[in-house]
Structures are given as structure tokens and as C-alpha cells.
Symmetry: C2
Subunit: 514 residues, 2 copies
Amino acid sequence: MSNFFYPRQPEWTARGQALEPVLNHETILPATEVECVADPAAWQGVAVKPAASPDAAMADFFQFRTFRFDFGRHLVGRLELELEYTRCNDAPVRIVAKFAETPYELAADFDGCTAHLDHSWLQRETLIFDEAPEGTVRLPRRYAFRYLELKLGSPNYHTRLKAVRAVAETSAGTLLPAPANLTDAEKAIDRIAAATLRDCMQSVFEDGPKRDRRLWIGDLWMQAKVNARTFRNFELVERSLYLAAACCTQEGELPGSILLRGGAGRLANLLPTYALLLGPILLDHWQFYRRTEFCRELLPVALRQQELFRQWIDAEGVLHQPPKCWLFIDHDQQWLKPATAALGVYCFSLRATARLMQFLGAEGAENVLAEAEELSAKLRARLWDEAHGLMRTDGQENDFAWATQAWLILGEVPTPEQAEAMWNNARSNPEVRRPRSPYLWSVVMEAGWRIGHTDEVRQFIRDYWGGMVERGADTFWEVYLPDQPFFSSYGDILMNSTCHAWSCIPGDFLRRTE
Amino acid sequence: MSNFFYPRQPEWTARGQALEPVLNHETILPATEVECVADPAAWQGVAVKPAASPDAAMADFFQFRTFRFDFGRHLVGRLELELEYTRCNDAPVRIVAKFAETPYELAADFDGCTAHLDHSWLQRETLIFDEAPEGTVRLPRRYAFRYLELKLGSPNYHTRLKAVRAVAETSAGTLLPAPANLTDAEKAIDRIAAATLRDCMQSVFEDGPKRDRRLWIGDLWMQAKVNARTFRNFELVERSLYLAAACCTQEGELPGSILLRGGAGRLANLLPTYALLLGPILLDHWQFYRRTEFCRELLPVALRQQELFRQWIDAEGVLHQPPKCWLFIDHDQQWLKPATAALGVYCFSLRATARLMQFLGAEGAENVLAEAEELSAKLRARLWDEAHGLMRTDGQENDFAWATQAWLILGEVPTPEQAEAMWNNARSNPEVRRPRSPYLWSVVMEAGWRIGHTDEVRQFIRDYWGGMVERGADTFWEVYLPDQPFFSSYGDILMNSTCHAWSCIPGDFLRRTE
């Protein structure tokens, strides 16, 4: 049985591969040697402080030594070092390197990690050389880090760590300047948002360069928006979309995420709430880059996602869980029933795709729009809670959720008056379940922005993303719950990524002029 | 300033390199999956017992798994494995391999090692692959082991360890059959002695393929003797000697040991008690292989070692410690004063070299022999203790040592009657300090054999080497003190080598026909 998009899928792989980016490299020397200190005032209880000047670090040593370096910024790339020996080394040379994005990670014992994801994500490397290496030693993999711990042994001879340097890698190029009207606090947020995107821009747009390291369609939606206002590497957007589209299932389902393996994409999972975002992504891409041919080429993929999703919606506009799929809305799976928000995603997808079709001159836009209107009317009728001025969530009739309000607003399900009420009531009612991830907070902000609450969105950015800045962020985090420094979805904070694409959205909002 | 043997030394390097052996390879599958159990009756308190059939080991697994395999014999070589996954692997693949020569090593926690040598000698390897490896994974280095512990993690998918195999390497070829008259116990000792030599025969004769992995002249003396009766790879003897001679100091001192670095030798240390053995090694080589040209070529190096040593002996025949040198006699540095035994080494060297010169038709043999006689007379006069029937040790006049008796007998310092008395008195007097290393025991046996106590030597082999066999030896150990299972010269038994060249000498004695 051939794939739904056969023979387009092999072509898309080839087109994606042809757009493989040339990475930009920057050599970065450690800013200083540091030590970790327990500090109750610090985020996660650990601070780093300068331990010695880099010159002292480079002095020779005997026996065993542990070095801890701070490179002064988060980076993604390679590590190189050079060693010198006072005499012919009579034992193998062992280099143990541990890479950390945060002070806590630098101080932690990886062996005690309790995460249920593969501990191979923890960034450490042990190299043993039978013959003492002369010249540059280049560690074999790519790492995401600001801090480095190096353990070297030298029991029989003096060794000198002659040089340590990182070579940062990114497919991001020159950063457009930020608007002049930003406050200093906003400038810092914008700079860190751009750094976050920069470090996630590799061979494709990755979600987190330390952990997961894959292309997610939901993250890409945000990355592409920030990219359009910062680095403008539109070829990387197209490459990412080609490689993802090439991984559609036999039924034509776009993956929720793909892994890059052997230079091509491989389907990692199915996630309709992300696959439905293809239409909106193509709309943004057309608006920023006007690539009509590219958008026409992938429009059938966007439409196919809607076709597949439609079959799970009954005549009353109720969504039934599609089999073998994950309806991801937020890192809140235990509490949140995602079906209603997913219907908002669907309406958002229909309306954006209809608009794209109008721009492209494609036939059928009216039908798509008509479906969105019809479904919106059903949802309004079924979900509106007049007493609270909020939309209900299917299966959670006594609770209200930001997820539902935000996605239904984006799907233009409520009337403008309802949308205004939902926004204000959700903000003022502490009982409304708040987002757990920066991803859903970003969706909330997009919803607020679209109904004109731009000042409140900017204030939220200053509060939430500014909170990460105050807590020492070099790049924005996968998870940030201000009162839960150790929250992790993976059983251990060591598994969290602290440079995560879905947190880069301030680089879009703060640079918007429209 | 040119080197003493310039321009011969670069020539010797080239000649040694031209003799680089082709290694023989043998694929070995694990005999069984095992587990470690505490067992007070076992040597070092740990036994292994079968845990499951290899088929069960190869079943797929989920989460994290530790495998422990027994390859059924000691081997030196590479490890290869193959993995299979039930679906596209979404995390890096980490392979942690630990290699062990003994059950104790397999069970031990390497992180708790207290040795003062570089812990890089502990054989473990951590490989992390960003993309799940397909096909054969070959670990990067050479390992010496019988047991293997493999740790694999697979939290999100089922993984199957499809294959594990070792590829043994040695430059030993076909083993000559053992004499038919050996007892079963002697046959076992002979087999294990040959296995010990086999696993130390690599690019050169190594002392221990797990730890140290270098060429020592003292070990080579024994290895060459056993090699002549087992594998008869005489080219490897010549290669080893060429590479060592090429590393002579500017003064012409032959190294006590060399390291192989970049395909050539590098001086590791100076050890006159080993350098003096070059003459005896050449004599053996000539007697076994009749390579007159080769022996003529290196004779000047042997003579130069004597010339250099001679200057530290005063008119009374007392040896003064040569500066910057180590007079190694036994792993007993804290107790044993080595000067007297070293004079025995010197006399042994002089006499063997004089004999070699006679065979080669080289001039000056009489002078060398005359010096040996003159020095022997002085030593007899100064050291003989009539009351005990033993030779005294300079600096330890109230103690007697096997080291002194053995080396003086080999140097033909005592009269035949004195030698006979020394042998018998040292055997019967428990106050005589016994050897601590198989190396010195081997010297003792050579001394006994030369004065006709061949049955006692064979009995000692059955007792001492047979003791290692009873305690589970696959190859003979660097250190064996029957009542001290955890004795180490390095601060931790984990650093000991249990396949060590200087313990292979039964492969010579048990096969002697003369």
C-alpha cells in the first residue's frame, strides 16, 4: 500500500536535504573557573561563584583534579581541549566531561538521577586514550551547556590543561536589532529569547538542544514566528517542514514530531493538535516570506490533517479521542481534559488555512471557513457558561481552564463579546486552571494579543519571562513554575531542558509592530 | 650531543617496526550469563555462577538492564555487539561496558577504587550514540578480560541485545604440544602459563595486557624463554629488543621498560637490574635461534650496561646506589635492600655475556669472565655467613633473603658447596625472607634448577602456580601471596593484573628436557 502522499514524500525528503544549513561557528573560551555553593536564595538552591582566574586553572597539576568552568553564556556546540605532560605518559589518559546548563545541574550527581527518560540524555562523556593525546582533543558529540566540569587524573606525572574552548554551532545568522522602544527589562527578555531560538536552530528547528533534540510541529509554529523577526532563516523553516511532511503516515497523518536520523526525518509520534498547526504555520510563512509555490506544495498536507481530525467530531461538535494519538495541549495531562481545547485548535487551523487558501488563490476556502463557522456555533452553544462568563471544558464541567479559553479564542469560537469576557474572567478568577508550560502560556498570549490586550500580554511577558531572567536564565526554560523550582514531567529536574524552543515567543511579541 | 649508539638507534627503530607482527584473531562468544555471589570459600570472596542461558540473555528488554557475561577464558581483544529496537529510538543510546579479569573485579565498584595509579587503567567504557547504532558496534579500545558487564538503558522502547562477541588478539601462533610426561596438574599449569604468555604477546611482549601494557626487559627475559618452548615467535623477541635498544639514553643506558607510542618505543624508566639482563637474553636467543648477526648487533648494548653499572661498585665489591635509577629485585621495596642481589644480577650478566661472546667469536670474553670471577671472590669473602650457611645482604646484616641467595647463585658467586648449602638452608629456614612476586620466585627456581634441584623446582611449581590454578586462575597473576588475597602494590587489588608475563615461567621449566 502506497503512502497517501506518494510519490511526494521522497521528493520532500530530497528537497529538505538540499536545504541543509551550513552551521555558523564561534569559538568561546571559558569566562572563569567556578565552584558551586549551596545558596537558599538561588533558584534551585545552587549558585556558582568564581573560584580562580583562568590562568590559575591552566597551571599544571598532579594526581587528580576537577575543573569547573563557566563559559559565560549558554551555547550549543563542541568541546576542544589540549593537554601537556611533563614526561612520557605511562598510563591511559582519561577525560571525564560533564556539561551543565544550570548551576544545579553542575552541582548535581548524575548517578542519583531518578528520571524515567533515558539517562543517556545527561550530558557527560568519558574518553580514554591509550596513548596520551597530543594536539587538540575534540569530544565526539554536540552538547548544550554553559558550565563544564572536567575531571582529569595524572598520578605519575604533571599534566597541564593547556587549553579549553567551546565551538558554538547554530544555523542562526545575524540577529535583527530589537525595536528601540523596548525597556531595559524587555531588551533582556528579547535578547534571551533570541539566544534560545539561536541555540535551537541547528540542522532543523529543534525543541531542546540538550534533551529531546527533535522537530516538533507545535514548537516550530512558535520558532518560525520568532525567526521571522530575528534571524529570518526561512530556508530552515522550509527544510523542517519538508522533512516532517516526508514522514507522513500511510494515511497522510503529519507527525507531531520527527527525529533526524541518517540525514532524513523519521516519524516519532502522532499528535493531531500539532499536525493541525501546519495550516497556520504555512499562513505565517506566506505572510512573512510570500513563498506561494512552497505553500501550495504543502497545502494538501495541511488539509489532510483536518480531514483526518474531522472524523472524530460528532454531529454535536463533540470530539472523541482519536485512537493511538496524543492530544497534547499542556504539560498537565493528569488534570486537563484536552478535547475542547483541541477543538479550538481545529477551528484555528480551519480559519488560518482558509485564509492561506485565499492568499494562494486555492479553491475551497469558503467550505473550510463555513465548517469553522458551523462548528464554532455548536461549541458556543454547548460550552458557554453565562454565569462565569467562561467556556466549559468537556468532561470537566465544574472546572474552567485557560487552555480552553485561549484555544477557543484563537479558533474564533466565541463572539467578540464572549472572548473579551473570557479573557477578563480567566485573568481575574483564580479558580481557572492556569497553564503549566511556556507553550500554553504562549498560546494564551497569542489569544490575548488577537483580541487587543497587547499591553497585558507585554506585562505578562515582563512578569513570567522576566521571572526566569531574574532567576538567572541564559535561555528560556522548558518548564517554569515560579513556586516549584524542581517541577519536572520526567521524574527529575536534571532531565529538564533549560533552552527550549517553545519558550522563545517573547522574541515575536516584543518585536511586533502591527 | 649525540646519543651513545647514534646512528644505530634510528636504525633499530626501523628494524623493530619492520618486524611488526600480524595479529591472529579469534571470535569468542560468551559462554554464559552469570551473576556474582559472595562466597567466603572463593578467592577474594566472590564467585560467579550461571544466571541464565545465553538465549535468555538475548531476549528483548525494557527500561534498564545489566548483563554479565562469562567468556569462558581470559582473552585480550575487542568487543563487538549488535542492538535491535522495536521502534525508532528517540533518545541517545548509551552503552556502559565494564571488563573484568576476575570475579572480584566483576563484582567491585570501580568508583570506590583507592589505587594510587591512574584509574584510567580500570577497564570500563561509556559510549553514547546520538543515533541508535545499526549493525555492529565495536568498542574503541583493546581490553583484557574474561567477564563483561554491560549496562543498557531503554526506557521508551524495547531493545534486544542481538549479539555480543569478543575478538581475541595475539601475536602468538600455534602452541607446541606439552611434553607427554606431565601430570594432569602440571598440564593445567603449563596450559595456563602458555595462555598467560599468549595474552601478553601483542605488538611487543607486554608485561600485563590489562595494566601497564609495556615492555619490561626483566619480563622479556622470562617471556623469551617460555616463547622458545611454546610459540617460538622469535621475530617478536627481536622486534621487542630493537625497539628497546632504540630508546637507549644519551649515555647508552638501556631502559628498564619502554612504552609503545606512535608505533615506536619511548623510554619509561631506568632500571639497571633489568638492563643487565640484555646479555643473558641474547645468550638465550642465540642458543634457541642461532641468530648470530642479530646478537652481534646488540652485544655492544649489553656490554655498555655493564660498563655503566661497574662505576658504582667500589674496590671492596660494594655497590653504591646509582643515581636516578631503581634497583628492582622484588615487589618488596620497603623491606629488601636490593644492592647485594643486584651484584648477583651483575655477575650473572657478566658470565652469560662472556659465554655469548664465546659463541659469537667476539673478542674480550676472557676479560668479562675475569671480572665476574674477581667480583665473585670479593662477594664470597664479604657476605658468606658460615653459621647460617647463607649469604648476607648488605645493609641488612641480621636478616637473610631469598633474593640474595638466588641472584648470587645465578651469578655463580658462591662455591658449588656454598650454593648447595644456601639453597637448602634458605628452604629450611623460615626466617629467610621469601619472595613477594612471581618474578623473584622465578629467579629462585632458575637458581635451584641450575644447581640440580629440578625436582624441588617442579614441586614448587605444583605448589605455588598450582595454588593459583586451585584459586581459579585463567592466566597467572602479577601478585600471588596465598595468605593475602588482597595484596597490591598499588593501593587497591583492582589495579592488579591477573595476566602477567613474569608469572609465565612454568611454561619454560615444565617443558625443559635438558
